[in-house]
Amino acid sequence: MRIKIIRIVFVISFIIIIAGLFYVQAIRGQYYYDLSVNNRIRIVHLEGWRGNIKDRNGKVLVDNRISYDVMITPQEIKNIKDLFEFLSKALNVDKEELIDTYRRNKFAPFAPVIVAKDIDRMKAIVIEENKYLYPSLFVQESYKRIYPFDKIGAHVLGYVDKVNRAKIERFKEYGYSFRSTMGYSGVEEYYDSYLKGQEGGLQIEVNSQGKQVRLLSIKEPTKGQDITLTIDNDLQLISAQLLEDKNGVIIVMDNENGEVLSMVSSPSYDPNIFSDSKKRKKMSMLFSDVNSPLLNRAVSGVFPPGSVFKAVVAVSGLASKKITMQTTFDCEGFYELGGIRFGCTHVHGIQNLVQSLAHSCNVYYYNLGLLVGADRINQVARSLGLGEPTHIDLPFEKAGYVPSRRQSILFGKRKWYTGDTLNFSIGQGDTLTSPIQFVKMMATIVNDGNEVQPHVIKLIGSLPVDTYSIKRDVKIDKSIFIEVKKGLRAAVSEYSGTAHILDIEGLYVAGKTGTAQSSRNKEHHAWFIGNVISKRKNLSFCVFLEHGGSSQNSTLIARQLLLLMQKEELL
């Protein structure tokens, strides 16, 4: 019967298992017993290097250096007092402090504990020389990330730190362990999987003196890939210098392909703090600083747009065919609605579209906004990329917000009034935009409706990353942009234009200023979004000063930026 056959198969399987037990435990028992008693097998981890990060000219922005850590294997300790006395002398550190670190980090007798990180090379040699006296002691080499330019461009680069518990669970399958370091924020995070090296290690058999008896096996660590950015470090230095002591953002982007040449968010931080154990104490200061230096304002900061938004309203006016270039509105210095006066900066008189952009006349846009309607403005703003992330290759990008009547009615607490449309038309109210969104929008206008994808990656290893270089048509008539550009140019070229100081010899500059009201008792935000064309370059740029007062301040910095770029032959 078949059950009988199955019984026989089961019996045979059990005999095999029993034979296996005999082999492993009785015959090879002594061998395994020796392994377990002498224990013996120790694992030495070899860290993989992270790839370097370079700027577009090949200058190294992020590098590695070797650091020496002192480790103790608990089960090898003979005399704990002697050991720490020696260590304390050799390292010139308080003995109690060393013992304290040791106790805190110890978790298993065989697992080496780090007692001192990143010691001098000379001290490392002294310890290695005395190793025969203290078999439990050894010095391990590891790699530390260094950022030679400290604060410059920290937000683009990011920093590295040990993998935290939450991330380990998520990334375990991708080869991360609790020993790994991982990129946090910036390119270090976004391109972590390319930068990261493969961890390796040695499995060695050691005797009771801690000496290696035999190398059982080895797995070579590997270096991660180098990454080349579109960033120009010389330009970064200029931008960072201009924003010294200010809170703000400078972005410069190539209109041809969306390559970000410079992105500086101020205040910045020193990423070395996270990888250098001596500087780590400053870390908590970073997290508690009221100016949030860790925040990359260029992509993660969203602010009211102010008058910069008028460019959007101008496009929507022409796109909806409610106005032509010849349509004019009369500015008497205010617009009256239901007994409330909505003000303007000056009495501008009769304005057409070009003049209104040049002078940033509120009244023109109150009229235009009412004519076009909030729905249409919202639609155009969205197709110009506002209210949604630009998908730049940096983490934590914010989408910003473009209010709409429908949302306000459906989800909001209140009705949408005509006054809301007025505020909306001049970039006040609930609208929030990030600097990178405006740079992208400016490029779209300059490119006559062809949207580029902002990005900071140029090469991975030696392979160009060209997936970002695709242009997308925003489906707004080309001629509209040509008209709007005239207005943006007039703001610079006209004597009465709001950004006339940017009229620099040898350069074509156009743009839009913006002074955005923020919370009641703080200074306004100052914007300048511009386009500069020289013989060699066609760039969009943004100068944003958080609570920087009037837009004159940001325009002034834009002037300095362009002059310095001209001087350094970056244009």
């Binding site: 019967m1 078949r2 059950i3 056959i5 199955i6 019984r7 089961f10 399987s13 059990f14 095999i16 298992i17 029993i18 296996g20 037990l21 005999f22 492993v24 435990q25 009785a26 090879r28 028992g29 002594q30 061998y31 395994y32 017993y33 392994l35 377990s36 008693v37 224990n39 097998i41 694992i43 981890h45 978790f107 298993a108 007798p109 065989f110 669970e169 375990k172 399958e173 290690g201 499995q203 059982l216 096996s217 797995k219």
Partner: protein, 368 residues
Amino acid sequence: MRRDLEKRIWLYTIAIISIGLVALYSASFQNVRVPLTIFYDQLLCVGVGLVLMYFLGKTDYRKFYDIAYLFYALNVILLFAVLIGGRNALGARRWIEIAGISFQPSELTKLALILMLGRYFSNRRPSLSFGVFNKMQVVFRGLIIPFLLTAVSMFLIFKQPDLGTSLLMFGIFFIMLFVSGLEYSYIFGFLALCLSVVPFAWGILRSYQKDRLLVFLNPNIDPLGAGYTIIQSKIAMGSGRIFGKGWLGGTQNQLNFLPERHTDFIFSVIGEEWGIVGALVLVFFYFLLINCGLNIANQVKDKFGMYVAVGIVSILALQVVINIGMVMGLFPIVGLTLPFASYGRSSFLVFIIMMGFLLNLSKRRTIF
């Protein structure tokens, strides 16, 4: 004689559970990684389980005949639910939470599959095949349909991903198919066909599953990662030698060298602390229990009962052999528990329920 068989099932089950608890206590003794609470957790489970087993022994197993298909269908739905919304642990979705209790539906599937196949095969008449059409019909009804039914849960479990349990399902199916009396030429033709698919299946495995299989062939290719467990487990087993290092004396165990020692690798703890003597005693009890089950399968009068008994016995035998084989490095590490000994509520309770069925079968084996 009848009472005798029942008593023996009780005796062997309790003996195995006790040895498991002793080992589990040692595995979690004064340890941070594996806290002692899991021991008490398992103890509670044993208490509940034995009561459950007693009552199942009194319930007529033929009641389960009626709900076998429904039960299996519900199980498939649960497996779906796990894939969609299950709890993620150690890189796999295996747990699901219902009414605050989390369990692994894949464990329950073992039982559901046995009942489903039992009912299906017991309804099939062993028909002699004459003519091509008839032959096709025999193959279709006797092999393809039950295989497809099994394959649904195999696939869902594989997706979790849990290769071990998925292959175990195939093992159960194959043994029950074998017993169903289908002609040998079909059975082995089918097996040959399945084996020929294996090289192609390599491509759909997860990278860690490939790692484990490669490491099984040569543990030294990844001594720090996947190979670590096999090497350490072998050292633990081997270093126990004849009489072991004594209870709570296993250094591999106590010093945290053994990963997952409270679940899949509990047998290494037994091997290290009680030596080959302890290991053989446990293996012997398993064998006696399986032998009892086979005797019941032989004697039971109705076909459904016979299939259920065969199914239960084969799952027990497969898991014991594979688990012990894997801790000794004879098989790749596929994550199957050691019945009654490994920590884990779902696994433990499902095996207890199976023993309840065996009790019941032995009680009614002479009743027609």
